[in-house]
C-alpha cells in the first residue's frame, strides 16, 4: 500500500461514514479523504435496519436533526445525482400506545413537535384501526401520526452516497479493517492489513464498535452494542400503509412498496453477532400476531440480525474527543435517518472547526463526564 497521507480518515462506511465523507468532499476544500470499512458494501447496521425515518420525537434536537435529514431525502436523487432515486416513501408513521401512560408521553411530545412545525396529530384507538385495519384492538388506546415520516431504501441511499463520494475523489476501501489506531508526531496512523494509513484527523463512524478504537487512547465512551433482529415477509396486499411503532411491543412495522412487510423486533440482550438467533422467531411471532392479527397468515420470508449502538441517554454522540483531531459520530440506533444532518454538521466541525450547531453542545462526548445527559421522552425501542 502506498503511504499517501490523508487529511481525514473516516473509519466505517455506513450511513454516517459515507454521509460525512460526501459532505466533506462537497465543501471542495481540497482535503484528501479516505473511508475504510472492514466489511463489504452495506454489510453493517446501515444495511440491516428497518429503513424508516421520522420527525416524531419528544426532544428538540432529534426533531431538528430529522427534519433537516428528511428535507435531504426528499431531494437526494438530485443532490447526489442519482437518477434511480432512493425509494423515498412518505406514508407517515403511526406511533401506537397500548397504555394510558404511553399515550400521555405521546401527548406531551406532540406539543414540542408542533412548536417545531411537525405536522403530527393525536389519534384515538378507532382512528388507528381505521387507518390500519389489520391492527388488534386489545389494549390499544391511541397514537400519534405524522404524514411526512416514511422510509427510504438503505441500500440505495448508501449506493448513491458511495457513487457521489467516488465522483468527488473520496477514496473508499472495503474489506479494510483497522487493527490499531495511534497518534505519533501529531499524526494519526492506522494499521490495516497490508500497511499503515497516515492522516491528520480521524473520524470514527463504527458506531457500537467505537470504544474498541478509543481504548488505545485511554478514552472510554459508554457505548454498548444492542443486537436487533428483523423479519421480512413475502409480498402481500397492502395491510400497513404508515409505518407502525408500538412502544410497548418494541416492534416497528414497515410495509415497503414491493408489498413485503419488515418487522424490527427488539429484546434486551447483549452481543455483537450479526445473526438470527434460533429462538427469535418464536419470541417475535406471538407479539406480532398480538399487535397485528391481520398479518397472522402472511408467510415470513426471511430473518436477519443487526447490531445498533446504545448510549446511556439513548442519544447520538457527535464531536471531538479529548484527543485533538480524533472525532466520533455514534448514532444510537438512528444512523440512517439522521445521517444527512450529521454529515453536514460533522463536516463543518472537522474541516472548518465550525461548532455553531447547538446539537454539538448537546451531543458532545464530554457529557458523560459532566453528567449532562439528555433524555428523549419518546424513548423508543423500535
Amino acid at each position: 500500500m502506498t503511504s499517501v497521507k490523508f487529511d481525514v480518515l473516516i473509519i466505517g462506511a455506513g450511513a454516517y461514514g459515507l454521509s460525512c465523507a460526501w459532505w466533506m468532499a462537497k465543501r471542495r476544500t481540497g482535503a484528501r479523504i479516505l473511508v475504510v470499512d472492514e466489511g463489504e458494501f452495506a454489510s453493517g447496521a446501515s444495511g440491516r435496519n428497518g429503513a424508516g425515518f421520522r420527525m416524531q420525537w419528544g426532544l428538540d434536537l432529534n426533531i431538528r436533526l430529522c427534519q433537516e435529514s428528511i428535507r435531504f431525502f426528499e431531494t437526494a436523487a438530485d443532490q447526489l445525482d442519482y437518477p434511480r432515486g432512493i425509494e423515498l416513501k412518505q406514508d407517515g408513521y403511526l406511533v401506537l400506545a397500548h397504555s394510558e401512560k404511553a399515550l400521555a408521553t405521546l401527548r406531551s411530545s406532540l406539543e414540542i413537535q408542533h412548536r417545531y412545525g411537525v405536522p403530527s396529530e393525536l389519534l384515538d384507538a378507532d382512528d388507528c384501526i381505521q387507518m390500519v385495519p389489520a391492527l388488534g384492538r386489545n389494549r390499544l388506546v391511541g397514537g400519534t401520526f405524522c404524514g411526512k415520516d416514511g422510509t427510504i431504501s438503505p441500500f440505495l441511499l448508501l449506493d448513491s452516497l458511495l457513487k457521489a463520494c467516488r465522483r468527488e475523489n473520496v477514496d473508499i476501501r472495503y474489506g479494510t479493517r483497522v487493527e490499531k489506531l495511534e497518534r505519533t508526531n501529531g499524526n494519526f496512523s492506522a494499521t490495516v492489513s497490508g500497511g499503515t494509513i497516515e492522516a491528520d484527523k480521524v473520524l470514527l463512524c463504527t458506531d457500537w464498535a467505537v470504544p474498541e478504537l478509543l481504548a488505545s487512547f485511554g478514552i472510554t465512551l459508554p457505548v454498548k452494542s444492542l443486537p436487533k433482529e428483523a423479519i421480512v415477509t413475502v409480498p402481500c396486499a397492502p395491510k400497513v400503509k404508515p409505518i407502525l411503532i408500538s412502544l410497548e411491543h418494541h416492534i416497528s412495522v414497515n410495509q415497503v412498496s414491493r408489498g413485503s412487510i419488515i418487522f424490527v423486533v427488539s429484546r434486551a440482550r447483549e452481543g455483537k453477532e450479526l445473526v438470527s438467533t434460533p429462538d427469535f422467531l418464536g419470541f417475535a411471532a406471538p407479539k406480532i400476531v398480538d399487535l397485528l392479527p391481520g398479518v397472522a397468515d402472511v408467510p415470513v420470508l426471511r430473518t436477519w440480525g443487526g447490531v445498533s449502538s446504545l448510549t446511556p441517554d439513548m442519544q447520538p454522540i457527535l464531536g471531538e474527543t479529548e484527543v485533538e483531531g480524533l472525532y466520533v459520530a455514534v448514532s444510537s440506533f438512528r444512523g440512517l435517518m439522521t445521517s444527512p444532518a450529521v454529515g453536514r454538521i460533522m463536516s463543518a466541525l472537522i474541516l472548518e472547526s465550525d461548532t455553531n450547531d447547538p446539537v454539538l453542545t448537546q451531543l458532545t462526548p464530554r457529557r458523560f463526564q459532566t453528567g449532562d445527559l439528555i433524555i428523549e421522552p419518546l424513548l423508543n425501542q423500535e
Binding site: F41, F155, L158, R258, P278, V289, D297, P299, V300
Partner: protein, 453 residues
C-alpha cells in the same frame, strides 16, 4: 429413505421430514395415489425405485414420518425448525442427516420466462406426479442425460417431440470405456432411452442450444443455434422450431442452503453442484452431528444417493467416537465399494458436462435474471460495473436473490455474470439466512416444542 432405513436398523429413534406428500424425492417421485398407473421410466430404474420405497415402507411404522413438512432452518446450535399442518416444531436431535437433493440449474436466455418454457425436470415432474403431458409439441434441450430421458418419457407418454438439442453429445463418454463399465446399470438405461428417441425419428441437434423463446401469451416457437466450444453462437445456424413446450436442463445445483445456514464449512465446485458442504466419506460436515448425503452433498445421481444414504445413515446412527472405528468401515464395505465404483462413472460423466461460461451471455439487458424480484440483466451488470463484485453486495444493490426463492434460481447466474465481468468468481456464498421456506406468523406462534432425547 436409505439413511432412515439404516439408522432404524441400528436401533435409532428417527424422524423423517419430507416436503412431498409421498416418499420418493425428485427422482423416485410417486404419483398421487388416485393417479397411479403406467410409468415411463426404464423397468430397471422402476425396480430400484420400488425396492427402496418398499424398504422405507417397512420402517414407516417405526419412525416419526412427517410428509408435507418443510425444514425452514437449521441453526449452528443443532436446532432444526420445521413446519407442518400450519404449525411449527423444533427438534434438537443428536444427529441431522441433510438429504435435500438438488434443483435444476437454470441458464437464463431471452424469453425464458414465457409460459411454456420450463426446466426439463419440472416437465418430468408434471408427468410423474400428475400424469399429464406438460405440452403437446415439445422441444427439449440442454446438457447431460436428463434431456434425453425426458424426451423418451414424453414420447412414451404419447407426446410429440419436435427436436432434441444437446450442447455436447453424451457419446463423449465413449472415450472412457472403463468409466462406462463402472456405470453400466445407468448406461444401459441411457441406451434404451436413446433408442426410444431414435425410433420416434426425433430430429437431433447436437451442439445446439435454445437462444430465444418466442410467444405472446404462451410459447409459440424456439430458436435453436449452434454454439462454439467456448459457448458463442455460430452466426447463420439459427433454426426456428414451432412448439408449445420447451424443456431445458443444463444440469443441477445441490440444495446445500441448510448446511450453510447451520454454519458448515462450504466449498464451490460448479461441476458437482455449486456450493457444497465440505464432507468426509461418512458425510460428516464441519459441524459435529451434521451430516449430508446424496445429491445435496455433491451431485452423484440416484444410485449413489441410495448407497450414500446407507453409509451416512450408519455413521449418523453411530456415537461420534465410533465413526472412525474400523468396524464401521468393514460393516459398510459392500456399500462403500459399490459407491466408489459408481463414483468412477459419475466423476467422468460430470467432467464431460462442463458448461462454457459464455452461455451466460445469451441474455440481453432486458432479460429477467432474478424472477422473484424481476431484476433484469442490465441492472445486475450496472451493479457489477459500479464496483459491487460479491454476491451480497450485488444483492444489496439490485435485490437479486432477495425474493421468495432466496436466490436458489438466480445465484448461479449472478455468480457467473460476476465472473464474466470481473474475471474471477465471487469467493463467498451469499449469506444463507433463515427461513429456507416461507412460514406464516400464525404457524410460528403455534409452536410445539418436542425435544428428542
Amino acid at each position: 429413505m436409505a439413511a432412515a432405513v439404516e439408522a432404524v436398523r441400528r436401533g435409532c429413534r428417527v424422524t423423517v421430514i419430507d416436503e412431498a406428500d409421498r416418499p420418493g424425492g425428485q427422482i423416485y417421485r410417486q404419483a398421487h395415489p388416485a393417479l397411479e398407473g403406467e410409468e415411463y421410466a426404464e423397468p430397471s430404474e422402476l425396480a430400484r425405485k420400488y425396492a427402496l420405497i418398499e424398504r422405507f415402507k417397512r420402517i414407516i411404522g417405526k419412525v416419526d414420518y412427517r410428509a408435507a413438512a418443510s425444514v425452514y432452518a437449521v441453526f449452528p446450535n443443532g436446532e432444526m425448525h420445521f413446519s407442518a399442518d400450519g404449525r411449527t416444531e423444533v427438534l434438537r436431535p443428536d444427529a441431522i442427516v441433510l438429504a435435500t437433493g438438488a434443483r435444476e440449474l437454470a441458464i437464463p436466455f431471452p424469453g425464458w420466462t414465457i409460459p411454456g418454457v420450463m426446466l426439463a425436470g419440472g416437465a418430468q415432474a408434471i408427468l410423474k406426479s400428475h400424469r399429464v403431458l406438460p405440452g403437446k409439441r415439445a422441444v427439449i434441450a440442454g446438457c447431460g442425460p436428463l434431456p434425453l430421458v425426458v424426451a423418451a418419457q414424453l414420447l412414451r407418454a404419447g407426446g410429440q417431440v419436435a427436436a432434441l438439442a444437446s450442447l455436447s453429445p453424451l457419446t463423449g463418454m465413449l472415450r472412457y470405456p472403463l468409466s462406462l463399465w463402472h456405470g453400466r446399470e445407468v448406461v444401459r438405461e441411457g441406451l434404451r432411452y436413446a433408442s426410444t428417441v431414435r425410433r420416434a425419428g426425433v430430429p437431433r441437434f447436437t451442439g445446439y442450444v435454445p437462444i430465444r423463446a418466442r410467444g405472446k401469451e404462451h410459447l409459440e416457437s424456439v430458436i435453436l443455434a449452434r454454439v462454439s466450444a467456448e459457448g458463442r453462437i455460430v452466426p447463420g445456424t439459427e433454426r426456428e422450431i414451432p412448439c408449445d413446450l420447451l424443456a431445458v436442463n443444463y444440469g443441477f445445483v445441490a440444495n446445500s442452503e441448510l448446511a450453510a445456514m447451520a454454519g458448515a464449512r462450504m466449498r464451490r465446485d460448479p461441476l458437482i453442484g455449486g456450493w457444497l458442504p465440505v464432507i468426509d466419506h461418512f458425510g460428516r460436515t464441519s459441524i459435529p452431528g451434521l451430516f449430508a448425503a446424496g445429491d445435496g452433498a455433491e451431485l452423484r445421481g440416484a444410485l449413489i444417493a441410495e448407497l450414500d444414504g446407507t453409509i451416512v445413515g450408519a455413521a449418523a446412527a453411530t456415537p461420534a467416537a465410533g465413526v472412525d472405528h474400523p468396524a464401521l468401515k468393514s460393516k459398510l464395505s459392500r456399500a462403500l465399494e459399490r459407491r466408489s465404483r459408481h463414483l468412477q462413472f459419475q466423476k467422468t460423466l460430470r467432467r464431460t458436462l462442463g458448461l462454457p461460461i459464455e452461455l451466460w451471455r445469451l441474455v440481453t439487458d432486458e432479460t429477467i435474471v432474478c424472477r422473484c424480484e424481476n431484476v433484469r440483466l442490465g441492472e445486475i451488470k450496472g451493479a457489477i460495473e459500479g464496483g459491487h463484485s460479491s454476491l451480497n453486495a450485488v444483492k444489496r444493490n439490485v435485490r437479486s436473490g432477495m425474493g421468495w426463492c432466496g436466490g436458489r434460481t438466480c445465484l448461479p447466474a449472478v455468480t457467473s455474470l460476476i465472473e464474466l465481468s470481473t474475471g474471477t468468481a465471487p469467493t463467498d456464498m451469499m449469506t444463507p439466512r433463515p427461513l429456507a421456506r416461507p412460514v406464516s406468523f400464525a404457524a410460528i406462534a403455534h409452536r410445539r416444542k418436542v425435544d428428542a432425547e
